[in-house]
């Protein structure tokens, strides 16, 4: 520890379930109950629960920690503990130095005050001194891009302007630690990019960052380490590994999905050798085998197949095939049909899952199964992105190289399963 800016040590946090007595009417009966000898511990165990159980982490200057987990995992509680809005029931939670929070960045805004007045108000709420705000005023207005409207009451602002101004004030604080909660979704694309750049700039200048988000893609871009939270710490360590653990735990593949239309039975994802796989290299030839068991005899159905990037729910592929096309119309009751969806995983590194569905066109009734398989693509070459474009760089100009260009494979020289299926032969690179 030593030089850590953010210290979260063995923190437990207990909450009361439901409302506390908020009026005297509720208080009096509860006092009577307490007085009448019912033991306190009984009452407590029934109405209280632990939101966090023994959570520890530390963040050093210039380090970024991402916190991920399902809804209700205690992520917001962690943020509220860090920003001192809540106090831990047990354990220690501390930020050494000024804490900046990109949470509710416009919480202090008053709609009737002008943008300028609100900058000073919100700045003061965040603990800035007047001189400091005045010094940064121009930058704040500039960053938010609201210069024209700075003397207009913020109630006339669009919601985007409002959020941008709030974010801009928070982004010009000089914090030792920065706590971020999903705010990167503020404003348009250009502004979002500015925000991300600002975060990276903060990190480079030695600010410790704690970032909570459901967008795992953003987490993996910004953070070095991650913590998978689910009441207690489920996993922590390098960001890619923790995200993989999290995604795996979220979507355990469905083995069957019963519907009154068609049952989807035993979907399995296999490689070209017919073995079940979960980790592949880019371009791998894969097959999803699915069984369909009709509950009644149906005609005119569509079989859907698709792939989603788990970290941000990006739909990579969503295609459908009609029963006529496949020559299995009608589907007779009780006669199981197997369909193999062969595809090539032209994907970059990340976590993906496969889904499939059946749609009865006349009634638009749909049976879905998602995820039916999970897939990790491993490679070292790409930084971001989703599609493996099979990029082949060629160095030209020197005599010796003209004959045979050196094509790079993913993660160094290794044999790629997909090579034989490559539409373009490897040697053609040299002739092009």
């Amino acid at each position: 520890m030593g030089n850590s800016v953010v210290v979260f040590e063995g923190v437990w946090k207990k909450f009361r379930r439901g409302e506390r007595h908020n009026s005297l009417r509720d208080l009096i009966p509860s006092l009577v109950r307490r007085g009448s000898g019912r033991s306190r511990t009984d009452l407590e165990s029934a109405s209280e629960f632990w939101a966090l159980r023994d959570v520890s982490f530390e963040v050093a200057p210039g380090e970024a920690l991402g916190i991920i987990g399902p809804n209700g995992a205690g992520k917001s509680t962690v943020l509220k503990l860090l920003t001192r809005i809540l106090k831990p029931t047990r354990g220690r939670c501390e930020i050494r130095g000024r804490a900046g929070a990109l949470i509710e960045v416009a919480a202090g805004f008053h709609p009737d005050l002008t943008g300028m007045e609100n900058i000073y108000l919100q700045g003061a709420i965040m603990g800035m001194k007047r001189a400091e705000i005045t010094r940064k005023l121009e930058q704040i207005i500039d960053f938010a891009g609201v210069a024209e409207f700075i003397d207009t009451p913020v109630k006339r602002y669009s919601s985007g302007m409002n959020a941008r101004l709030g974010f801009s004030i928070a982004a010009h604080l000089n914090p030792a630690a920065l706590i971020i909660d999903e705010v990167l979704s503020v404003g348009d694309m250009a502004f979002q990019q500015k925000c991300v750049d600002r975060m990276i700039e903060f990190r480079r200048s030695g600010v410790a960052i704690v970032f909570v988000s459901h967008n795992l893609q953003a987490i993996s871009t910004l953070c070095d380490r991650a913590l998978y939270l689910k009441g207690t710490s489920e996993a922590s360590g390098p960001v890619e590994r923790v995200i993989e653990t999290y995604v795996r735990s979220m979507g355990s593949p469905h083995r069957s999905n019963a519907g009154d239309l068609v049952d989807i039975v035993n979907p399995t994802l296999v490689n070209s050798r017919g073995c079940e796989v979960t980790v592949v290299e880019p371009g791998a030839r894969l097959t999803l085998r699915v069984g369909y068991l009709p509950q009644t005899t149906v005609t005119d159905v569509t079989f859907g197949f698709g792939l989603i990037r788990s970290t941000d729910n990006l739909v990579v592929y969503d295609g459908s095939f009609t029963s006529q096309e496949l020559g299995i119309d009608p589907l007779e009751k009780g006669v199981k049909r197997n369909i193999e969806f062969g595809f090539q995983a032209h994907l970059t590194r990340g976590q993906y899952h496969v889904f499939c569905n059946v749609c009865h066109n006349p009634t638009q009734r749909i049976v879905r199964a998602s995820p039916v398989a999970v897939l990790s693509v491993k490679e070292q070459r790409t930084w971001m992105g989703v599609a493996d474009l099979n990029v082949v760089p060629v160095v030209r100009g020197r005599q010796a190289d003209v004959a045979g260009a050196f094509a790079l494979g993913y993660g160094g020289p290794r044999k790629r399963e997909s090579r034989i299926l490559d539409p373009r032969p490897a040697s053609s690179a040299g002739q092009a």
Binding site: F15, R16, R20, H21, N22, S23, L24, R25, L27, K80, T83, R84, I85, L86, K87, A101, I103, E104, A107, G108, H110, D112, L113, E117, Y120, L121, A124, I125, M126, G127, M128, K129, R130
Partner: protein, 266 residues
């Protein structure tokens, strides 16, 4: 125990120093909003005590004349001025935390800021309304004597007392919303058991003895003594001064220690 108390006091004073800009901004916000949206703006600060003075002047000069030892409008206005400060400060404070729930649950800063700024806003109103008092004094030919130099002490005592109660009320309403309604009733009664529009000493008897315990009476009386009568405040005022400081210190520490529960209780 004393050690912890001193540590707490050091902490809460330190926080106030750190966030002094916020107190200023919050007060400015509330003042601006009031004067931005109302037609009469500053006029409201004067209007309320002035109308009350007129009403009570009719009652206590024509209907049931009483002896106040000074021109009645002067007696009533000075009393109402002092009373209005405490009453409006408390009225704002009661809901100051609950109406700013979005801030209380989302951003950390010393929560005292809300009741404090309610008190400061009311103090500004009182300062504006005191212009009328000066005019009334000039009109009735009452000139301030050297005892008027004690005025700041009286103001400090009233501010301390009001702030102490404001902290408790704001916090109370956060935990139990009944406090707001209960407080409205108490406030009405409180005004008539304080020497605001008539000297409460006139009540007499056993009830009078009980009413003498009301700390607001010595404070309101002290204003008249130092400003209008050229006299020193009596011992009751100095006892009240002492009690006010204790009340403020105790309620502030209490507030500070309960602060972390606010976000969970709003």
């Amino acid at each position: 125990m004393w050690k912890r108390l001193l540590a707490d006091i050091a902490e809460l004073l330190g926080e106030q120093a750190e966030y002094r800009e916020l107190l200023y901004r919050m007060t400015l916000r509330d003042l601006k909003l009031r004067y931005k949206q109302t037609l009469m703006g500053v006029g409201w600060a004067i209007f309320t005590p002035l109308v009350n003075t007129a009403v009570f002047s009719v009652v206590f000069m024509r209907v049931a004349p009483i002896d106040t030892g000074m021109p009645y409008p002067l007696f009533a206005y000075s009393g109402l001025l002092a009373w209005t400060f405490t009453a409006s400060a408390l009225r704002f404070s009661v809901t100051s935390l609950t109406s700013n729930a979005n801030l209380v649950t989302k951003v950390y800063f010393p929560r005292e800021i809300f009741p404090f700024s309610a008190v400061v806003v009311s103090l500004v109103d009182a300062a504006i309304a005191s212009v009328v008092l000066a005019a009334l004094m000039a009109d009735y030919g009452v000139h301030p004597t050297p005892t008027a130099l004690l005025l700041p002490i009286v103001i400090v005592v009233q501010v301390a007392f009001t702030t102490g109660i404001a902290l408790l009320l704001g916090m109370g309403n956060l935990f139990y919303r009944d406090v707001k309604y209960l407080f409205e009733i108490v406030l009405t009664i409180w005004m008539f058991v304080t020497s605001v529009v008539f000297p409460v000493q006139l009540v007499g008897g056993r009830l009078g003895g009980v009413l003498a315990l009301n700390p607001m009476t010595p404070i309101v009386d002290a204003y008249r003594q130092v400003l209008l009568q050229g006299a020193w405040p009596g011992p009751a005022f100095w006892i009240t001064a002492f009690v006010s400081v204790i009340v403020l210190a105790w309620s502030w520490v209490f507030f500070h220690r309960s602060e972390f529960e606010f976000a969970e209780s709003v």
